[in-house]
């Protein structure tokens, strides 16, 4: 109804006047952080250890959440020592779960700041920031007659979401999964149960004893390999080898892979600074600020005090690593993070940087 719509909008404008200069949701955040329609958040409802190095978080998403398709991932913003860092995690629960919660399973990553934080500190009641589910590593609505899943380590997580949703709809599903030892298999007992019930055929490989799985081995384990619609998730080298193998057989259309880029950035000295919108790119040596490097390269740069006080020279960094020339502190932004505003007058490149300017 347009009239009620107009009335509602009018009433809402009055409510906004009541709370100016902030918005009503900012007050609501104090008591109900999940109700904010502008900032999607999630509350941790339960924390369940899976293996010694992985943990499943059951999350209750806030308003404006959209249910995921099995195989998709979500970005979670986790405040580690006061700083919000974003990471992508596959949704491991079945789609359309009653109660509206979903789960992600976090596996320890070597030097992983966020994964080790969640493994040690995730508690019921904790609030995380969240983004909508995304990714095209999904099962089609028309389920394939013959399916193959090739996974290694934490690569099982998105596949688990698929199996939990649709194992009963897949007439012939083979899961080839590699992990270092039997105990390291995430969701091991659940996978073995599915195998016993005849819903999947599970081929477990323990790389600690049997060595790494090579594509050639696959042909032996699954003779009708290329007849199957295949989903693969695991380390980059494994996916590269599989992609090549499938391409050689002319079956690349049947292979779907999911890659998680490593997010570990190591600070070096200097780097290429790319201004994405203007297309200007310049080599910035160590100790030369992004502001100076940009100006020298002919980029129009905002600037102010030029000494790190006024925050007028800030530009969003989409990805990269910079060092504060005053104190040496390092700021890293990965592809998954929200762009971070850096003070260009006191930041020097410590690796390649992409700026939104």
């Amino acid at each position: 109804m347009p009239v009620t719509q107009t009335l509602r909008n009018g009433a809402w404008r009055v409510v906004e006047l009541l709370t100016t200069p902030v918005v009503p949701a900012d007050y609501l955040d104090v008591i109900a952080p999940l109700r904010n329609p502008d900032v999607l958040r999630a509350r941790i409802e339960a924390v369940r250890p899976e293996t010694a190095k992985s943990v499943t978080l059951e999350l209750r998403p806030g308003r404006n959440w959209q249910p995921h398709q099995p195989g998709q991932y979500v970005r979670l913003g986790v405040d580690v020592d006061g700083v919000r860092l974003w990471r992508a995690y596959s949704v491991s629960s079945a789609a359309g779960r009653p109660g509206g919660t979903f789960t992600v399973t976090v596996n320890a990553v070597a030097d992983g700041v966020v994964s080790s934080y969640l493994l040690n500190h995730a508690r019921r009641g904790m609030i995380l920031t969240l983004d909508l589910p995304t990714g095209d590593f999904v099962l089609p609505a028309r389920r394939p007659g013959k399916a193959l899943f090739v996974t290694a380590g934490s690569g099982i997580t998105p596949v688990m979401g698929m199996l939990r949703t649709a194992a009963h709809e897949l007439p012939d599903a083979v899961v080839v999964h590699s992990a270092r030892t039997e105990e390291d298999v995430v969701f091991g007992s659940e996978l073995r149960d599915l195998h016993r019930q005849g819903k999947i055929r599970l081929i477990e490989r323990h790389t600690g004893a049997d060595g790494r799985l090579k594509p050639a081995d696959l042909s032996e384990l699954v003779p009708d390999l290329f007849e199957r619609e295949t989903w693969a998730c695991g380390p980059g080298e494994m996916l590269d080898a599989l992609t090549e193998h499938w391409a050689d057989a002319g079956a690349e259309d049947r292979l779907h892979v999911e890659r998680f880029r490593p997010t570990v950035l190591v600070a070096g000295d200097g780097g290429t600074v790319a201004f994405e919108r203007s297309g200007i790119s310049t080599e910035a040596p160590a100790g030369v600020t992004v502001l100076d490097a940009g100006e020298a390269a002919g980029q129009l740069m905002p600037s102010g005090c030029r000494m790190g006080i006024c925050f007028k020279c800030v530009l969003p960094m989409r990805e990269g690593i910079v060092r504060d020339v005053r104190d040496g502190s390092v700021t890293t932004v990965t592809e998954l993070d929200e762009p971070v505003l850096i003070q260009t007058c006191i930041s020097a490149a410590a690796g390649p940087c992409r700026l939104d300017a």
Binding site: L17, D26, Y27, C305
Partner: protein, 394 residues
């Protein structure tokens, strides 16, 4: 910094250029230490502060629905005054300095924060963060010295209009938020000629302030007072309810204005604070910049509550040295800074609020009149730095 204010005693005459750079290095070391410490504690602090302020504001405004009744009026006004003070000082001022940008929380960020003040955050950041913090106490460049309407230094030229400055200062204190907004607009400069008046950038800034003031005023003087009318109707006095809430909001705003004006006067006006000549900062080194901040600022001593209510601007010296460190850390930093002042025999200006406010006001009164004796003309410049030794290739 080549020349300090021309006074009988040059407070840094005993420092060599090497001393000044050593001070800079020591302050940088303190900064590094606290940058490294910055983390969850600071994030929790500001989030809790925002939570407390919002609860206090909502609670006070709820009480003010019954502003018809004197006890509710008193409690609500008191709560709202405190809430507005916290919102401006400990939350707004500090977030707008980028002190919490490190959290990467877009809600608590210097680029997105808007505060409960007539001055739009964006304009304030320019005049305050950029101009005042860079050109601290440099006559003619730092407009915070007298806000362009007062004479607060003997070196400034006296004109008869200065006779009225105690009155201007008092009016400015009452309407401080509007004074700040006008000051950000540089009205004095921009209204002078027709060309400046019609400058599109100035007009856009003017419209921005207009919008902000309209919204702020509508909230405090129309919408919230109207909200208490139903309660008034129930008790047969709708007008009383409307006026009760309106007056409570006005009083809370004025209390906040008087308080922030007093605190801010204490930062750079009291006795013992140095000012600097316009030309004195060309080629200034980092050590010299630090030294200027040390000599140009003054602290307020007091309890923890006092520090919170001033937004930790009671630690004005520490704030000027490290404007982007979380303000709640200044109390930890202060003893270290003070040690440095003692080590280099410099004057750490600090005193209780009453004493500092009185000192600042007495300066306003004293300088309303022309100088009793001609300004001292003795040059107290720092001895020129020795030219760097030339290296001869072997």
């Amino acid at each position: 910094m080549t020349t300090l204010q021309r006074k009988d005693v040059n407070p840094i005459a005993h420092l060599t250029p090497e001393d000044i750079e050593a001070i800079g290095r020591e302050l940088d070391a303190i900064r590094d230490e606290f940058i490294a410490k910055r983390g969850e504690k600071d994030a929790t602090y500001i989030r809790n502060m925002i939570k407390v302020q919002r609860r206090l504001e909502v609670g006070s405004r709820a009480v003010l629905l019954f502003s018809l009744f004197p006890p509710a009026w008193i409690i609500g006004t008191l709560g709202l005054s405190i809430s507005k003070i916290l919102e401006n000082m400990e939350i707004g001022h500090n977030i707008l300095h980028g002190q919490y940008d490190f959290m990467r929380d877009p809600k608590i960020h210097s680029t997105t924060w808007e505060w409960d003040s007539a001055s739009p955050a964006e304009q304030w950041k320019h005049s305050h963060n950029e101009l005042h913090h860079k050109y601290t106490n440099v006559i003619g460049r730092d407009n915070d010295l007298g806000y362009g309407i007062m004479r607060v230094d003997e070196q400034q030229k006296w004109v008869p209009a200065h006779l009225g400055q105690p009155l201007y200062n008092f009016i400015n204190a009452i309407f401080f938020e509007y004074g700040i907004a006008a000051y950000d607009l540089e009205l004095g400069r921009n209204l002078k000629t027709k060309k400046r008046r019609s400058n599109p950038a100035f007009r856009a800034a003017l419209r921005q302030v207009g919008r902000k003031i309209r919204k702020q005023a509508a909230k405090d003087y129309l919408v919230h007072p109207l909200l208490s009318v139903p309660v008034g109707l129930a008790f047969g006095n709708p007008l009383g309810a409307f006026l009760g809430t309106l007056s409570a909001n006005a009083v809370a705003s004025v209390v906040r204005n008087l308080w922030s004006h007093s605190v801010i006067m204490c930062g750079h006006f009291p006795k013992g604070v140095e000012t600097f000549e316009r030309t004195s900062i060309t080629g200034e080194t980092r050590g010299e910049w630090y030294l200027r901040q040390m000599l140009g600022s003054a602290n307020i001593s007091g309890s923890k509550l006092m520090h919170i209510m001033t937004g930790n601007l009671s630690h004005q010296i520490e704030h000027h040295l490290f404007p982007d460190l979380p303000a709640s850390r200044y109390a930890e930093i202060a003893p270290r800074v003070r040690e440095l002042f003692e080590k280099y025999d410099l004057n750490y200006v600090s005193g209780p609020l009453v004493v500092q406010v009185a000192s600042a006001w007495s300066k306003v009164f004293r300088l309303a009149l022309p100088n009793r004796k001609p300004a001292n003309d003795i040059d107290h410049s720092i001895p020129p730095r020795p030219a760097p030794a030339e290296t001869v290739a072997a």
